[in-house]
Amino acid sequence: MGRKDLAIGMQRVNAQLYFSIANSCLRGRAVLLYGGMGANKTTLINLLGSSFLSMDFDQVEDIMVTGHPEQTEEKIVGFLDPRQWADSSAGPTQVLWTAWAASNWKLINEINRFPSGKQNLFLEILQKRKISYAGQLCRPGDTCYFATMNPEFSSTYPLDEAILDRISACVPATQPDFMAGILLSEREKDVRDLADQLPRFTPQEFSSLPGMVAEKHLSGQVELAILCLIRDFTLCERAPFYDKTQLSSSKPSLGLCSGCHYQNNPEAICWQVDEGLSDRVRQDLRIFCRAFAFLLNRDADLEVLKAIAPYVIWHRTTPMRHALEMPPYFGDGKLAYVAGLVEKSINRTMNEREEMNRIFSRAVDGETTAAKAIEELSLFDDPIARLDFIPALEDLS
């Protein structure tokens, strides 16, 4: 693997590897590995599949589907069994499901080589426990979803926002660095031999992993930081219902924020990204916090959240171009830019929002009147206080 590019407190790990392992411990989540060709994205997922499913490496390779324009639903999911029409005693319609559809380890290789229309097929499949075709259901059960993609090349297609939202985490897969290159040169064995050397999980062990992850407790701090983080990205004073996900033609990058007093305020996040975050992000943040805490044998605390949240958010948002083009991002450091926004939001929640959060909670609990709380909250120039708390208290009163 490449460098240890993910720092969680004092621990440093490789993001590509750990997100893939974390996703193997979860069900119904999808991890996208994004990087140039030959960065071992597909090999890594197949190696993990071989280990977690206790299968031969070649068998795992055969399960995956690879994107190209001629792929169809029939080739990916399954097709009607033609033999049933020759059999007069045939019962209900029979579908021959593909190995991919029936497996609970689904790798969509080169997902952006599917044309945009065909990508919609995955909208229904991702994060689901069953697949339907011709009125028949395939129930592979809880499934681990993985996808890989290259940057934009001549024969790739852009991914739709809806499908990106269904991808829980997107991790850059870089080429092996110098040290990794030396290790690879010394290795004589084939990748299949490496797969044979990996530890094997029994089906019981594999199915027990989500339960072990769920046992990890999320502290109140993390829950609150996640809530505020999502609202920081989503709230917009000028969007319908203050919800940026409602925007279609008008966006911050298209001048929506012009003249808004939050614009160019580095502490405010709303004007710095075009898209709001859906509730899926909250679920993904919570579950990946737990998974990393489980893998690293530590508490699911703010350090874990700060480290993983950028990977959960960055593919779902588009930062303002002019902000991204400034040093140290130089137009291409989107992940680092989103990491900065995440850190800003969490720090603000923990250090500067205590007073307003407590005012709101006292009013909700009936310890103080809504009118008094609204008066106090009106002093806070914070999008959450102004666009979330005050309208909520107005409804209460």
Partner: protein, 254 residues
């Protein structure tokens, strides 16, 4: 669960405070580092808590130019350095030297504004002339200067201030203790609103000496300007001579 309980659990390990401590545990290499942690107008305790143990590092901080932005922090650092040092400290002549000094000695060739403000002990010697607000709100200690500009020893509570030459306007305004001695002259409105303490002037004093004073003692060996003791309600003024419209109880020295 009540929302208040949720907030309690979220903020249980947080200390109250609105500003983010981004560099907790970091070394302090510059006044900017210190200001990031304590703000530009901190308390002495906040600075004292973070100031480096290493005296060389403290000297390095004192030798840097605080400009106007970090002058209060720099002032606290001079006091802390003087308190640590057995020999007199000789910092550059800038504003806020000896801010809240508790003990130790500081020697300055000349002084800016606010020198010795709120000092509680120790000694400050200014070989040249000091600026405005010298020894303001002093609570102890001694200051000796060749001269000072306006508002010298304002709101003094205790301590001893000596001006070897002339003092500016508004000397010892609102004092409720302490002693001030001026070997030269002082300008108008010295001892304004004075409640206690003493002011001795060897030369002349400007007009409105002891204006509205309610206590304390003023003695001017030279001549006080017009309206000495104007509307005074207590205390005593004695002068070698005084101008017209002086209060009836102003005593003329022989």
């Amino acid at each position: 669960m009540k929302l208040s309980s949720f907030m309690d659990s979220a903020y249980q390990k947080k200390r109250p405070g609105k500003r983010l401590k981004t560099r907790e545990g970091d070394m302090i290499f510059s006044l900017e580092d210190l200001a990031d942690r304590v703000g530009n107008k901190p308390s002495r305790e906040a600075v004292e808590e973070l100031v480096p143990e290493d005296n060389n590092q403290l000297d390095l901080l004192i030798s840097s130019d605080p400009k106007k932005k970090y002058s209060m922090i720099w002032g606290y650092l001079t006091s802390l350095a003087a308190e640590r040092s057995s020999a007199p400290l000789k910092p550059p002549s800038r504003d806020y030297v000896g801010l809240e000094l508790r003990h130790g000695t500081i020697i300055l060739p000349e002084a800016g504004d606010h020198v010795g403000e709120r000092m509680r002990g120790g000694r400050i010697v200014v070989k040249g002339k000091a600026g405005d607000h010298l020894g303001q709100e002093m609570q102890g200690g001694r200051i000796i200067a060749r001269g000072c500009r306006d508002y010298g020893f304002r709101s003094m509570r205790e301590g001893f201030g000596v001006i070897l030459g002339d003092a500016g306007k508004f000397l010892g305004i609102g004092n409720c203790g302490g002693r001030i001695t001026v070997m030269g002259s002082c300008k108008e409105r010295a001892g304004w609103l004075m409640r206690s303490g003493s002011l001795n002037v060897s030369g002349d004093a400007g007009e409105y000496l002891g204006l509205l004073m309610s206590g304390g003692r003023i003695q001017v060996k030279g001549i006080a300007g017009r309206r000495a003791g104007w509307r005074k309600r207590g205390g005593s003024i004695a002068a070698g001579g005084f101008g017209p419209e002086a209060a009836v109880d102003v005593i003329e020295l022989e």
